[in-house]
């Protein structure tokens, strides 16, 4: 399949590319140069450049938008909102049947859900609130919904929350803390990438509608969020369960013995 990836050189992009580059024909785009290890096709392109995205999408079977910008007010709108507009205009112009978009969980289930409820699932009506990142991503998702309803474009939205390296569960901003409270929606980067692959490859007949969203995280016991749909529909099987964060039995015993006796 010929796939245009937008914003492919951020945090998620390399993992998605790694999962897909031997299986699909990828055109990677970003405003930043790719990692040196990436040997495939690349084009410098800003996701909010509507004409540029339309041009890059010519001949593609699918568009995957991995672009993200959080803190800056103008750029956040340019990337998170206008980027999805550009993607959908391109999909409409070239009759591309499926697009994949990504974002944070709270573009769907904002604070008003998260602070109150459990079993939160990706089919809930969006309530992002006004937090810049969630709000701008939610606007982008709404644009996708409108285009999907009008033009029959299959939209798959992958929602993430807390990403971790499988070898360092502390993440980039803080050292790891075991056996205390954790974000009950944590996923290893490798699995974040394979989820994109699963969304690209899921057969259309398994999707209930033209606009489907999925929470991407492994099985966690908290029941704060619900990943059942992701496993059932996408067939996505995370390799890393981040279990050391939530299961005290997985700690190293001080004696270095098994403590079985």
């Amino acid at each position: 399949m010929k796939i245009l990836i937008l914003g492919g050189n951020g945090m998620l992009g390399p993992w998605a590319v790694k999962a897909m580059q031997d299986r699909h024909d990828i055109l990677l785009t970003d405003i930043n140069d790719p990692y040196p290890e990436y040997g495939g096709k690349f084009q410098k392109l800003s996701v909010d450049d509507v004409d540029g995205v339309v041009k890059a999408a010519e001949g593609m079977d699918m568009i995957v938008n991995l672009s993200v910008l959080r803190p800056h007010r103008k750029v956040a709108f340019d990337v998170n909102t206008m980027g999805n507009y550009a993607m959908m205009v391109a999909a409409r112009e070239h009759r591309i049947k499926r697009v994949i978009t990504t974002g944070p969980h709270y573009q769907k289930v904002g604070q008003q859900y998260e602070e109150w409820d459990f079993d939160l699932n990706p089919d809930m009506p969006p309530a992002p609130g006004t937090r810049l990142y969630a709000h701008t991503k939610a606007l982008g998702q709404e644009i996708c919904r409108v285009f999907s309803e009008r033009h029959g474009i299959q939209v798959i939205t992958l929602l993430y929350y807390n990403m971790k390296h499988s070898w360092n569960l502390g993440g980039p901003e803080a050292p790891v803390v075991y056996h205390e409270d954790m974000v009950p929606f944590s996923t290893a980067w490798q699995d974040c990438g394979t989820a994109v692959q699963a969304a690209v490859e899921v057969p259309e007949e398994r999707l209930a509608s033209k606009n489907e969203a999925f929470f991407i995280f492994p099985d966690l016991p908290h029941r704060k969020f619900d990943n059942e749909k992701t496993r059932r529909v996408l067939g996505w099987k995370p390799r890393y369960q981040v279990e050391r964060l939530w299961n005290k039995d997985s700690r190293n015993p001080e004696s270095n013995l098994t403590e079985a006796f």
Binding site: R73, D78, M82, T130, H135, L139, V146
Partner: protein, 228 residues
């Protein structure tokens, strides 16, 4: 009341400003390329200019449909990012009410025999950029209301706007200039409103397309002039 009106150079804003001028102190604003005379040029950016624009304002009347013209990306940017900036500044400044002037055209694809009210989901077409961005502006407003940062009246007006003469026989969603101005005026002071309040308004015409009972209930000064 100190009232800020956006997209002030637009026809809709001028109708509303004409209706509010005698009873309120108006501050008019528009983008620099549109502003002239009494209209304050403002980009609605996220810097302090927008904070100064809303300082001392009690209510904002925002033209959320056909207040601007230009490229598709300009319209999308204006009705998302700049709306966000304005709402953020207004919320921070303690502005109590935000009236978003939207359009009943968001329901134009529904068959005319359907009893469309505020409880129906709007259905913006992707190919009509003016309607798509009007919908997006509503979305931005709603989230500020959801977070209880500001109280929003989403006033969806009929079409076409009719001046002095009566509407045509097939203009079943028409609204008069007088009704536009009056509905904005009474929405400024209406009391029984929830945090996010959709209100549909059109003039009473033969074969009237949209139900206006919510407007009659919540804007009682209008009730006598609306279809019962």
């Amino acid at each position: 009341m100190n009232v800020l009106i956006t997209s002030a150079a637009s026809a809709t804003a001028q109708i509303i400003a004409g209706a509010l001028d005698s009873g309120h102190t108006l501050r008019l604003t528009d983008l620099p390329e549109n502003a002239s005379g009494d209209i304050i040029a403002n980009e609605l950016g996220h810097e302090s200019e927008t904070d100064r624009l809303v300082a001392g304002i009690d209510a904002v009347v925002n033209i959320g449909y056909q207040g601007q013209s230009g490229s598709n990306t300009h319209l999308m940017d204006y009705h998302t990012r700049r709306m966000y900036n304005l709402l953020q500044a207004a919320s921070d400044a303690g502005v109590k009410r935000y009236i978003n002037i939207s359009t009943l055209k968001l329901f134009q694809d529904h068959e005319e025999n359907l009893v469309v009210t505020e409880k129906w989901r709007s259905d913006p077409p992707a190919e009509d950029i003016e309607l798509l961005v009007a919908h997006m502006a509503e979305y931005v407003c709603k989230e500020f209301a959801r977070d209880r940062l500001i109280q929003v009246v989403n006033l969806r007006l009929g079409w076409p706007f009719v001046g002095g003469s009566s509407s045509g026989a097939d203009e079943t969603a028409a609204i008069s200039h007088g009704m536009i101005g009056e509905s904005a005026a009474v929405a400024l002071t209406a009391q029984e409103l929830i945090q996010w309040q959709d209100i549909h308004v059109q003039s009473p015409v033969d074969h009237q397309r949209f139900i206006t009972k919510t407007a009659a209930r919540l804007l009682p000064e209008l009730a006598g002039r609306l279809s019962s």
